[in-house]
């Protein structure tokens, strides 16, 4: 339907050409994600020859894996880390695209409406107060609670946001944006208060948490966040048509047969789940959600049917690539990945702003 609307404007051959380009783009992106994944399994502080990596993976797949150190590095450290990186990168980029589609504003980002801050705050609460909230007799490490805390924080922020900005089943995007900024500021203030309450040690944990890292990715953690992120990624394509229609405006989308309120609710829930689970898995990682959709809209066009899967692929490739960089550049130590993504993302963001003002071609 929406393609038909677009078709009345652009010529049929141009659309065919664009579709071909989008298809080629998706294949290229899939190839990129695959290549980066291979690199991520092969590269690291421990030098393991490629043949050995393949053999270890084969042994692990056939259940013949031993307890050798190399095997543990590949299957216990790099593999869960790669999977977490793929899922979190894909989810953050898709969440950015969803949010930008919802707001019809290319600068929108989950960080903007306070969802990331809410998730980060809840994570901070578990770091600082976890020992006090959970009876020591349970013997639970606060770090175990962290993913749950972050997810609940992201969800709670989204629900508050939704409650504030929805009247009689209609969501006001402007109210939501402003409320999001207020909630983000509140979460920031509470995080500051937490930093004040925390002791020296917790403060350092809090700092590193806010910089983001995939270093904590283990199979146990993946078991918690992978189903959530996987479900988000699988559910997203269903919204592509609605997002395309929404880009014309809410009334227009309604007349195109899209149930606007349901689509908005779905988008909000998916963004909350994606961001909450991502923060839970890897801390606060900025700029992936804004850089990836932008880049792709420039490269393959704004059609969400190709944009969303392309975002997932490029987001995954970008984050895994950034992680490989973060953990090899200063090996045997590692950089927090948030530093790497911000170092790539911030200049790019500035370039976008300046470009919009006509200062760049």
């Amino acid at each position: 339907m929406s393609a038909g609307v677009a078709g009345s404007i652009a010529s049929t051959t141009a659309i065919a050409a664009r579709r071909r380009r989008a298809r080629v783009g998706l294949v290229l992106l899939a190839g990129l994600a695959l290549a980066v994944s291979v690199l991520a399994l092969g590269a690291g502080a421990v030098a393991i020859p490629p043949g050995r990596v393949v053999a270890i993976l084969w042994e692990a797949a056939t259940g013949a894996g031993g307890e050798a150190r190399d095997a543990l590095v590949v299957t216990g450290i790099r593999l869960p880390r790669l999977l977490a990186g793929l899922l979190v990168g894909a989810a953050l980029a898709v969440a950015g695209a969803l949010m930008q589609g919802l707001f019809r504003n290319p600068l929108a980002d989950p960080g903007l409406v306070g969802v990331s801050s809410g998730a980060g705050l809840a994570a901070g609460v578990t770091i600082v107060l976890g020992e006090r909230l959970v009876p020591a007799s349970l013997g639970l490490d606060p770090f175990v609670l962290l993913p749950f805390g972050a997810f609940l924080g992201g969800l709670a922020t989204t629900l508050v946001l939704y409650a504030v900005s929805t009247r009689g089943g209609r969501t006001s995007i402007a109210t939501m944006l402003l409320a999001g900024i207020a909630l983000g500021a509140l979460a920031g203030a509470l995080s500051g208060f937490l930093a004040f309450l925390s002791d020296d040690r917790q403060l350092r944990d809090l700092t590193f948490w806010s910089l983001g890292s995939l270093g904590g990715a283990t199979w146990g953690e993946l078991a918690v966040v992978a189903p959530i992120l996987g479900a988000v990624l699988l559910a997203t394509p269903v919204l592509a048509r609605a997002l395309n229609a929404l880009s014309l405006g809410e009334a227009e989308a309604y007349h195109l047969g899209v149930s606007v309120e349901r689509a908005k609710t779905a988008i909000i829930v998916l963004v909350a789940a994606a961001v909450g689970a991502s923060v839970a898995a890897a801390g606060v990682i900025g700029f992936v959600g804004i850089v990836v959709p932008h880049l792709l809209r420039l490269a393959i066009g704004p059609d969400h049917r190709t944009l969303l899967p392309a975002c997932a692929l490029l987001g995954a490739a970008l984050l895994v690539g950034a992680d490989v960089f973060a953990r090899t550049i200063v090996a045997p130590a590692e950089l927090p990945i948030g530093i790497v993504t911000a170092a790539i993302g911030a200049p790019f963001f500035l370039w976008l702003l300046l470009r919009k003002r006509g200062m760049f071609p």
């Binding site: 216990g76 283990t218 090996a331």
Partner: protein, 291 residues
């Protein structure tokens, strides 16, 4: 008979030479400044294959060994890449996931307590000595350190009127971060026979100007970080500090941070330096008493 003794001696020497090399060739990763300091003091620095970024003493520790990163943000693969047989870490080391993965790879991670006290220092030295199979050297070092503490206690006896000391970790925009109760700054102040003027606060916290005036320190204690040392002028030109008794004689004591706060083998020495800085007359009083 002689032959039996000779054989016994041979067996014994073989047994020890077989037992020690196993430990003596062990590759160690040290995570925590105080661990590295004690490993060097025990003379086993050639077994270290990696240290964390807080291993600032001796200074060559970080120059001579790969840096595995900040003690609370270790990388499991990074540590394993050094092929260690054992990781010795302070209890602040983490994240827990990384330590769990290192253990899973068959590398024991030994945790050493960080309690800032006399007993804590001695226990740490002995524990690390036992881990690296240098019990005798550790015992000798512990006795030496214990003697230092005993001497320190005697010097404390000679202090008649304890002064109030405020430890300032940093001054940011004129706002002081001070060391309250439970910090190693608090512990070293008390070891030096003084009173922590910020004892009412828990941990390292930024405080208001009024709190500084209310604390009424006789001396301000800070740490010298290379060229970042606070000068008396920096401190006492601030209104809050200008109104404290310490400002009258501009009494600022600046000391090496790791020695002061590290609670390792150098602690008695650092506390002694502090006591001399706080009570310049203390050595005379002791000499008098000895006479």
């Amino acid at each position: 008979m002689h032959r039996i003794l000779a054989v016994a001696a041979l067996v014994a020497s073989l047994a020890t030479s077989l037992a020690t090399p196993a430990v003596a060739s062990e590759r160690l990763v040290s995570a925590g400044g105080v661990v590295t300091e004690i490993l060097y003091a025990l003379g086993v620095e050639d077994r270290i294959v990696g240290v964390d970024t807080t291993s600032l003493y001796p200074p060559q520790a970080l120059e001579d060994h790969p840096d595995v990163g900040y003690v609370r943000a270790l990388s499991a693969e990074g540590v394993l890449s050094l092929g260690p047989d054992r990781v010795i870490a302070v209890d602040a080391a983490g994240p827990p996931d990384a330590l769990a993965l290192i253990r899973q790879a068959g590398v024991p991670v030994e945790i050493v307590g960080e309690e800032p006290s006399e007993a804590g220092v001695l226990a740490r030295i002995r524990a690390i000595g036992a881990l690296v199979g240098e019990e005798a050297r550790a015992e000798a070092l512990a006795e030496e350190v214990a003697a230092g503490f005993a001497d320190l206690a005697a010097a404390r006896e000679a202090v008649d009127a304890p002064v109030r000391v405020l430890f300032v970790l940093s001054l940011q925009n004129g706002r002081a971060m001070v060391g309250g109760a439970g910090t190693s700054a608090d512990a070293i102040i008390r070891l030096a026979g003084a009173v922590n003027a910020a004892a009412g606060i828990e941990g390292y916290k930024p405080v208001t100007d009024e709190a500084i005036i209310a604390a009424a320190p006789d001396v301000v204690l800070s740490i010298s970080r290379g060229d970042h040392a606070l000068s008396a002028k920096d401190v006492f030109s601030l209104p809050a500090f200008a109104l404290t008794p310490a400002a009258d004689d501009e009494r600022l004591v600046s000391m090496d941070g790791l020695a002061l706060l590290g609670f390792g083998p150098r602690t008695p020495m650092a506390a002694h330096d502090l006591i001399r800085a706080l009570y310049p007359q203390v050595d005379e009083i002791r000499a008098e008493a000895a006479r």
